[in-house]
Symmetry: C2
Subunit: 283 residues, 2 copies
């Protein structure tokens, strides 16, 4: 997905939020915005938003000296999610279609963003997503791929959400490689965050090599690109991975909640909709 002009005010919103998380110094927070302003004319509308996000968060790290502004928030989200884990496992046991319920839970986890502060919101979202209709629902293709594949490449998104990914991984009952970002960026999951969620007990954790908040292939390691090229069944969680991979030529199942109006528009759905979209997977 390319950058829309409307993404630009949003970049400033995000930079301000991250700047505030990184430092209490108001002058430095202002400098973060000034610096983003100075970068603007170099930001092409042909790049994807996570490519720009990568440059913004690099700049914030440099200016504030804080390499991981959302560290505490990420840990808190994971703890909150882990506290819900036992009851979510029971929800799956009690459901008619266990795989679909696990997919719904993994999508609900996508709401765990650094804007979410209490377990209350997570629980409300879970309740909603467990019942909500999908706006795009390529479930039969998903089941077909799962059945036919020896292995799953699962590209994670945010810390905390990883606990819900673990539930889907456990339900799929196949060998899974779970992909994380190489370095902290926003609240995206790194290897450390994935281990905290217990992903290491159910999957092999690998880094994509990127420091972008999404999977931008030319910022990923050669090893990851080869792994992706050789993977039959790929699941990618969340908006950042959609933005990065939706223009690529590889079959991918996107699991996400359309939290942004423009991504919703790009997908042809409404903001708030839940999506299970198989791209390039046949019908």
């Amino acid at each position: 997905m390319k950058t829309y002009l409307d993404c630009i005010p949003c970049f400033f919103d995000q930079a301000l939020r991250a700047g505030r998380a990184a430092t209490d110094d108001r002058q430095l927070q202002k400098r973060v915005l000034d610096e983003l302003g100075a970068m603007l004319s170099d930001i092409s509308l042909d790049s994807t938003p996570p490519e720009t996000g990568r440059l913004i968060y690099r700049m914030i790290r440099e200016i504030t000296g804080n390499a991981d502004p959302f560290r505490k928030l990420k840990r808190d989200c994971t703890q909150q999610a882990l506290a819900l884990y036992p009851s979510l496992k029971r929800t799956i046991e009690d459901s008619n279609d266990k795989l679909l319920t696990a997919i719904r839970i993994a999508i609900a986890g996508n709401v765990i963003d650094f804007g979410v502060n209490s377990s209350f919101d997570i629980e409300a979202t879970l309740k909603e997503v467990l019942k909500k209709d999908f706006a795009i629902f390529d479930y039969s293709a998903f089941r077909r791929y799962l059945k036919a594949s020896e292995h799953v490449l699962y590209i994670g998104d945010n810390a905390g959400e990883t606990v819900f990914d673990r539930i889907l991984i456990e339900q799929m009952n196949k060998p899974v490689t779970f992909v994380v970002r190489e370095t902290p960026v926003i609240n995206d999951a790194t290897a450390e965050d994935a281990v905290q969620a217990g992903i290491d007990k159910v999957a092999t954790i690998v880094s994509s090599g990127t420091d972008a908040p999404g999977t931008i292939l030319n910022t990923c390691s050669r090893e990851f690109r080869q792994m992706l090229a050789g993977s039959e069944f790929v699941i990618a969680k969340g908006q950042g991975n959609y933005e990065g991979l939706s223009n690529e030529n590889h079959a991918v199942f996107f699991l996400l909640m359309a939290k942004c109006r423009l991504i919703a528009q790009d997908l042809g759905v409404k903001k708030g909709d839940i999506i299970l979209k198989g791209m390039g997977v046949g019908s």
Copy 2:
């Protein structure tokens, strides 16, 4: 009121909206945002938002060559408001406190912003504001000033809203000088817009001399500053005038709807609240 860091993403939102109103050329719209980015480090948090708005709209005029991007929208808003004029006059006739009803109508008019597209919204707001409790209500001081003063200086805000101002002016039954912006900026009322609303029939129209979207005294003409200094009873409509005048040392009655979270915070009220605030007027 000073500029908050949160105003900065909002400046980009506004610049994009105005850029789109000014031109269909997407490259020029992007250039507007790039140019604002380049200006950022020169924008002091000690300036008021309308001071910055003034620089932004100057830049948009220069880049797009469009001196009045909201011209058609302003005319449409005034026409919509004029269509409501007869029924609003009847509403006043039917009310117990005609002055207060006219104040409420003038405040409801403050919702006519370039974001409002249909008469439906205006009518819904009118219905709401005619019943809503005031968050700040210095009505007895307002009546005292009105009774004691020979003349009213009424500083207008947006085009279209001017029709609702006219209703309050008619109800006050005193000689009124109605102040407009010197040049078009956003959808703020100029002399031409005020005449279209029929203000010339009930008041003397003067320009403050400014091209800012608010009353920033050091951008106003010497004549206007002298007029303000000599005025006992001053009414200022809307957020832009509040932002510009709230730090000045002159008694002013502010009539507005707190449409922005930060202005609401500055006033100690909630977003959406309606305000009749006498600043420096005694209790």
